[in-house]
């Protein structure tokens, strides 16, 4: 009697079922959250991911590795490639204060979080990675908030650029510092060689990605669905190769996007074509990040340190954005909204933290213990703050019922 084995065909297995159901629950919750509260769908995704994580969902391990790591890197790479394409370097020539604003908010964030962690008696080897984790804002969360609110305007564009640049700094410095930690006995030359190799691989893959797409765009329309699929396929290949050669896949994709933008003045038409594929990948990484982050070991001191990190980050980004706002073309009210839109933390912070946890077994648990709760909290809270900021800046397509009252929302 082999009826049972004949009926039960080999399949993708239980993890696929788990993930599929989790994503189904996340997308349903996201929809309901937005429909009934006006909050971004991201909040629903994060809540479902966090609950799954608290309940011990074992679909992905910590530190990130294997398929889980690849999926996060791929999702982040797609988001960063698009974000990199929105950075015209020519703009910084016309408005250098935007670059000043970016460097100021990132540098101050690093410094403030580093000093706060030292003040909490944490060793420098923990404080420094945590400062880098805090430096990065989340282009994935901001991108979803912008898509949900259909936002457009100065605050939205400025926030996207600042978030992308903070990711660039965090990924570059994180990659370099992780290499230094991995080679403690290599001496300066050996350590510098390892850092240059890791960054060099990322730059080379970014360059190849940009080159391949530039060649493809000579014969393909950027508005075609096939070009979007080609883009996804090339980013996936780049992600796998970067990981294999020891580079940073997200950094490579980000650089690829920036390089392609500079070499290709034609408008960036394919994000509309990426559509559902990009949305699915982003949702996947947001759920996955929440699931992983919720697996942290929570305790009073850890929660206190995480809250201190968040407070220092918030303050430092506000000061940095404010300092760079003078002469940048934005009003003070807009600067405040931009600052709020920089609050979300998510996959990039998680990737940076994961790098350090892998690189150093001794300090890894301390870094993860503080970073993961902070990331979880700021994925959900940051999304809410960013949404309010975009509504307050008047850049969403419709007013938000929680802010303006139901009657006004229903007006044409």
């Amino acid at each position: 009697m082999n009826l049972w084995t004949q009926w039960l065909r080999p399949s993708a297995g239980f993890p696929t079922v788990q993930w599929s159901l989790l994503l189904a629950a996340a997308t349903l919750t996201g929809h309901l959250v937005q429909r009934h509260s006006g909050l971004p769908k991201v909040v629903g995704y994060t809540l479902v991911g966090a609950i799954a994580g608290f309940l011990g969902f074992g679909g992905v391990g910590w530190p990130l590795q294997g398929v889980g790591l690849f999926l996060v890197e791929l999702g982040v790479a797609v988001v960063l490639f698009e974000a990199g394409g929105r950075i015209p370097l020519r703009w910084f020539g016309h408005n250098p204060m935007v670059l000043v604003q970016s460097v100021a908010e990132s540098a101050l964030t690093w410094f403030a979080v580093y000093q706060t962690m030292l003040w909490l008696d944490l060793p420098a080897a923990v404080a420094s990675p945590l400062a880098l984790v805090a430096m990065a804002a989340s282009p994935a969360v901001l991108g979803r908030v912008v898509a949900d609110t259909r936002a457009a305007g100065l605050v939205t564009e400025r926030a996207i650029v600042l978030v992308t640049l903070s990711s660039l700094y965090a990924l570059t410095l994180g990659c370099a510092q992780a290499e230094l930690i991995r080679h403690p006995d290599a001496g300066w030359i050996g350590a510098a060689g390892a850092v240059l190799l890791a960054l060099g691989v990322s730059v080379a893959i970014g360059l190849l990605l940009a080159l391949a797409l530039r060649l493809a765009l000579r014969v393909m329309s950027p508005a075609s669905e096939n070009t979007a699929i080609l883009l996804l396929a090339l980013i996936a290949a780049g992600t796998a190769i970067a990981a294999h050669l020891g580079g940073s896949a997200p950094l490579a994709a980000l650089l690829g996007g920036i390089l392609l933008r500079q070499s290709q003045p034609r408008p960036w038409a394919w994000p509309r074509q990426l559509g559902a594929a990009s949305s699915l990948l982003t949702m996947l990484i947001l759920v996955l990040v929440a699931t992983v982050a919720a697996q942290a070991e929570w305790s009073g001191p850890v929660a206190g340190a995480a809250l201190a990190l968040i407070a220092a980050r918030l303050l430092a980004k506000a000061v940095g954005v404010g300092l760079g706002n003078v002469g940048s073309g934005a009003s003070w009210r807009q600067a405040l909204c931009v600052n709020c839109a920089l609050m979300p933390m998510s996959a990039i912070s998680l990737l940076v933290a994961s790098q350090f946890v892998v690189a150093s077994a001794a300090t890894g648990h301390l870094i993860a213990g503080i970073a993961l709760p902070a990331i979880l909290l700021m994925e959900v809270l940051g999304a809410v703050i960013a949404t309010i900021a975009i509504h307050r800046a008047g850049e969403s397509a419709k007013p938000w019922s929680l802010l303006v009252g139901k009657s006004e929302q229903e007006q044409p």
């Binding site: 929105r86 016309h94 100065l154 408008p267 960036w268 044409p412």
Partner: protein
């Protein structure tokens, strides 16, 4: 509310308004940056003025009172350079063109000013669909009666203005087969069309008072006519031009309108009558649909001639008046392009045929507006 007093202005002086597109530099869709641009521009001393328009991706620039098209061009150049500088700072682009080729009307946001909010309440989606971009030319008139005479005489040349300025072949991502599809958006408004054929200000004022008593209108601003008197400035305002892709063409069109006005004022070639309007709507449609390839029906003789030929004949006929207005160069430019059967609508179609991407067409239009394309 009675009709305003017609103020004095110097005959044949010029004023030009251009409604312009604000574009993001990412995918070259419209971008809601009007308030940000105004905030930056108010710090730069400029001739004329810069004001918001009905939706937040539009901005309107106006020259001061000018004596000729050269002066118009000088002022437009000064304002254009300031616009481009501010746009660069905000990482956006500014472009001409009567429509944005692929914007979706429902994504537009109404400007926050009370007048625009009121219009939005009244007209609903028509206001968002009114995200179209025109050039208005004011011409100074010696007195109110002369203004009405000039207005109705000028109506014979409305097809000229439409065909020469046409720059709106694409709407919502589609080729409309029109050279100027913009005017179809204007036609949806109940107070659009043409002014009643009344030739004295007294008659016009009486008619306006009757209209005002119905509560349908409150001021001249409520009429979206192709040409309307502007008593506040002592001018007539020609409103059928699409915003051209370059300020040079905008100034040339103003020079043509001024030269025609000089001819009409000096020679008083005919007395306008209601019969002038028998073929008006048909001529207007022909010019919108076919541009320079349109057929022109002469309202006096009823004869059908190619619009291009009628424009070239008119340019020849008014050349002495153009010379006295200092508009010879402007008319030479228009004559050259008319002979070559070229207008901005044709340029946009050629770019699209080459690029197969409307966003790229918009990018190149923005380069052309800044004088780099």
């Amino acid at each position: 509310m009675s009709c305003e007093t017609f103020h004095h202005s110097e005959a044949l002086t010029l004023g030009v308004e251009l409604e312009l597109q604000l574009l993001n530099t990412h995918d070259y869709d419209l971008a809601p940056y009007a308030e940000d641009m105004l905030r930056l521009l108010c710090k730069i001393p400029l001739p004329g003025s810069v004001t918001p328009e009905i939706t937040r991706s539009m901005i309107e620039i106006s020259t001061g009172v000018c004596r000729n098209s050269g002066e118009v061009l000088g002022q437009l150049r000064q304002i254009r350079d300031a616009l481009v500088k501010c746009a660069d700072k905000l990482n956006i682009a500014v472009a001409g063109g009567g429509t944005h080729p692929f914007q979706q009307w429902h994504e537009r946001r109404i400007c926050g000013r009370p007048r625009f909010q009121d219009l939005s309440q009244l007209y609903g989606y028509l206001c968002k669909q009114f995200t179209v971009f025109g050039q208005h030319v004011h011409i100074g008139c010696p007195d109110a009666d002369a203004a009405l005479l000039m207005l109705h005489r000028m109506s014979r040349y409305i097809p000229h203005f439409i065909a020469l300025s046409a720059s709106s072949p694409y709407v919502q991502g589609q080729d409309t087969a029109f050279d100027s599809a913009r005017l179809n958006s204007v036609s949806a408004f109940p107070m659009s069309g043409r002014a009643p054929c009344l030739l004295t200000w007294d008659e016009f004022s009486a008619w306006f008072d009757k209209m005002a008593r119905t509560g349908v209108v409150n001021s001249m601003k409520d009429f979206y006519w192709d040409i309307r008197p502007k008593p506040e400035y002592g001018t007539i305002e020609i409103r059928v031009f699409d915003t051209p892709l370059s300020i040079e063409r905008a100034a040339a069109l103003a020079g043509y309108a001024q030269s025609l006005a000089a001819y009409l004022l000096a020679e008083q070639p005919f007395t306008p009558s209601e019969d002038d309007y028998l073929a008006y709507t048909y001529n207007r449609f022909q010019a919108c649909r076919f541009g320079l390839d349109a057929i022109y029906v002469d309202p006096a003789s009823g004869s059908h001639i190619p619009l291009r030929d009628h424009i070239l004949q008119t340019l020849e006929h008014i050349a002495p008046h153009a010379a006295s207005c200092g508009a010879t160069d402007a008319l030479n430019m228009l004559r050259g392009e008319t002979e070559a059967n070229q207008n901005d609508a044709r340029w946009l179609r050629e770019r699209q045929r080459e690029e197969q991407l409307l966003a790229e067409v918009s990018r190149q239009a923005a380069l052309r507006f800044r004088g780099a394309g």
